[in-house]
Symmetry: C2
Subunit: 491 residues, 2 copies
């Protein structure tokens, strides 16, 4: 694969001077078109061999275009102590919004490749990383992002020459670190591992572009042309065609499902409730103060139809926690800044640090519930969301989080009773709106969406806990019991 970037590509000074002004002008125009339309973000990944001119090329791209609308971020290999949140968190924070160009210097490829070169990871783990990357980039593309991946290559001989040359010049000497030489010793492993990575992740929607880095003129024009070509095509409306997601979930033919077979009659007397809830809150409190929790975090998701009792249940949970270490995130309509990003972005920004808890009152599941039912997104959008959500929760878990999800189920009758009750109580009136009544009419559609969601996203690492919620005391105790049990298991 790398052979094509070892042929000694060259561009003469004259040729460069002829091409550069036009390329530059066109890039600038494409950038302004992008900025005006604000319809998609451009994500440029810059990776490759040390000394192949990555930095200079990125600087030149910033020079050719308007640097006010380019965000360049540099990422190195993550230090062990940086692992305070899942590894992908820092990349999510750096994603450019629609209309902007984000250049990611070193990216989600660096860590998997380097750890594999140094044999810190096994082949199977490496393959898994590549698989995750494919999913991630596919999601970015499906969310509308234009992902351009540039790999700057040098043959072993040329790299050695180049490092020596940089070292010889007092102006560039600082750029060659002992680390670079250490890495050079691993050139062959590095080439082998990265070739493998490139092959496995060169997808139709986000292919790698190999650029030979030896000749500056060649590499600048090549990188610029790749970028221009990709931007122009997308601006003209040519989006990659993604393979469709799996077919829509089926409907249970016997009409039985996880919601309508739930036993809603379970109840607790106030006496039993008081005793149980106190004990459970105490247990939960102790668990979150356990020494072993310092390296973990807690992500709790509450979903449920309107008036299912999410808010009051959350209060029973937070009562057991120290306010300094948790945040409750009520999920409403996305803000302007959030709308300019992939839909999971607004949840990534709230991912807790270690030793902290975040409770989501509604969550990323909105995509496969309300957005699906109300048609706020296309079928293919919510269809692919199941997989993306499972990915997301897996990353949280691998990052040390304990993910616990609750579906608070109430029957249609019980919901009606609660709506009527809310209308009567002055200070609860704000809680009931026209929309709530409208949503009731779509109950069967919601029921289908809920069942599909539970079927497709109840994983061994983050299973759904479906709680019969007609009796609030019963539901609260069940929730706390589940929390205590799950955390105990995971610590």
């Amino acid at each position: 694969m790398f052979e094509s970037a070892e042929v000694g590509h060259k561009l003469s000074k004259e040729e460069y001077n002829k091409r550069e002004p036009l390329l530059r002008q066109q890039l600038l125009k494409a950038q302004y078109d992008l900025l005006e339309k604000k319809s998609f973000p451009v994500i440029v990944l810059v990776s490759g061999v040390d000394g192949a001119g990555k930095g200079e090329t990125v600087n030149l791209l910033n020079e050719w275009m308007d640097p006010r609308h380019i965000q360049t971020h540099a990422f190195g290999v993550m230090a062990e102590e940086e692992h305070d949140r899942p590894p992908m968190w820092r990349f999510w924070q750096a994603l450019p919004p629609k209309g902007k160009i984000g250049i990611l210097f070193g990216s989600w490829y660096t860590d998997p490749i380097i750890t594999r070169v140094l044999r810190h990871t096994k082949m199977a783990e490496f393959e898994k990383h590549l698989d995750e990357i494919r999913h991630f980039e596919r999601m970015l593309t499906a969310e509308g992002a234009l992902v351009i991946k540039l790999w700057f290559h040098l043959s072993k001989k040329v790299q050695k020459k180049r490092l020596k040359k940089l070292e010889a010049d007092p102006v560039t000497r600082w750029r060659v670190t002992p680390e670079d030489w250490r890495r050079f010793k691993h050139y062959d492993e590095f080439a082998e591992v990265s070739e493998h990575a490139l092959r496995e992740t060169s997808t139709g929607e986000a292919p790698w572009h190999l650029i030979e880095g030896a000749d500056p003129q060649y590499r600048y024009i090549a990188a610029g042309e790749v970028l221009l070509d990709a931007m122009k095509k997308r601006l003209e409306g040519k989006a990659p065609v993604l393979a469709p997601s799996a077919p829509p979930p089926h409907i249970a033919i016997d009409g039985r499902d996880i919601l309508n077979t739930l036993d809603y009659s379970q109840k607790l007397t106030p006496r039993v409730y008081d005793k149980k809830i106190d004990r459970l809150q105490g247990d939960l409190n102790l668990l979150t103060r356990d020494r072993r929790f310092r390296n973990r975090s807690l992500v709790i998701v509450f979903e449920g139809m309107d008036a299912a009792g999410k808010g009051s249940t959350i209060r029973r949970v937070t009562r057991a926690l120290d306010a300094r270490y948790y945040h409750v995130i009520p999920v409403a309509a996305p803000t302007e800044e959030e709308r300019a990003q992939p839909y999971l972005w607004r949840f990534w920004r709230h991912v807790p640090r270690r030793d902290n808890a975040v409770i989501f009152d509604r969550s990323w599941y909105g995509r496969v519930l309300v957005e699906r039912v109300e048609g706020f997104c296309s079928e293919s959008d919510w269809m692919r969301a199941y997989h993306e959500i499972n990915d997301f929760e897996e990353q949280l878990t691998l990052g040390g989080a304990i993910v616990i999800k609750f579906w608070l189920a109430v029957t249609l009758d019980e919901q009606l009773r609660r709506f009527r009750e809310r209308e009567k109580i002055a200070h609860k009136k704000f809680k009931i709106t026209e929309e709530d009544w409208r949503n009731r009419k779509k109950w069967p559609k919601y029921e289908q969406a809920i069942c599909d969601m539970i079927e497709r996203t109840s994983t061994e690492i983050a299973p759904w806990n479906v709680i019969a919620g007609n009796d609030k005391p019963f539901a609260r105790v069940e929730v706390l019991k589940t929390l205590v049990k799950r955390i105990e298991e995971r610590l």
Copy 2:
């Protein structure tokens, strides 16, 4: 001052049980009113003596109200290595948006008080900190925030008893750290220093509320009532009356000002320009790679009328920098999330880390320029902004930043020439809008605003550099020359 919180305030269990339900209900109602109106944020500072029940009170407030709309943040004394950005940065990040309640556990008071207790700071420095805090809180209030400051106090005797009691109980033992006992040894100094701090910062707009912490019932109800009372008053529209800012700046009676006395005829030939710009870019590049720069950061501000050449000048600057270490922030209309915060918030979020540079294309000066001239804010808003801006830049500077500000000045004639030129060139057309033509008519008003701005915000730590911009090559060289000179001086 603390005597009033050492009288042994107590509330019986019965009295507590009588008051609690109503207080709770009213707090919840006030919280929802706040949430609905979204007209101001509530910032609750919680400070005081160790063991006075701060944590429990904060937890209870979260329990009484809806924790989904409260954001609690805990801050300790800042570790030396955390000083990657100015000390206030972390507090700005934690400010609640309009409609929400933010509880700041440990706050901008902790560091000044503790460092003074330990005698790491001199009295004069401590006084300066308090002065900065007064300004900061005054700004928050002027921006509409309701600032409620709770100080939980315990007498020395009671504190000792309390720490011992906490230690004796296996359930609460973890809460007493050796640090607490170390601090207890400094009780008298701590009391003296904090009494001083409280007195100096108990302003009309943000007074301290002293709460005796010995009796839980008393302290819970007292804290709740303070919060409720303050929220209710503000919700009824009773905002604190702030003393008016200084009178509007005067107009120079002889008609001469810093803009119209500038020599706009200065020019550079292309030959001289090419030579100078190359050398200056090289110098700037070396300076930002200097070892001494690792502990510094760079904040560059570009302001100027439309078509003054800000964008193209910025490109001449970024060309000298490594794209991995700078960001250019084009300042346009604030986003929804930004509008829910004090106006400086959207600039604080871009404050660079050490070793990094941020270039603002338009900046916080919008408040005293376009917002003043167009009437987007009240006179008192822009009048107080001068001081707030000077404060902000001082904090940046103390935090290690080198702040360099440019006003690119062009004459009315030159602007017209450039507008016409832009209209002719296809790919520059997007740069000229109806609004640009409208703004031209307000030139005299802008000129006044610019002169006032320069007069009031050209400080010794961050002076304005007014650059004659009619000749672009001349202006660019001047800008780079100034940058190199300023950075050299400050390293």
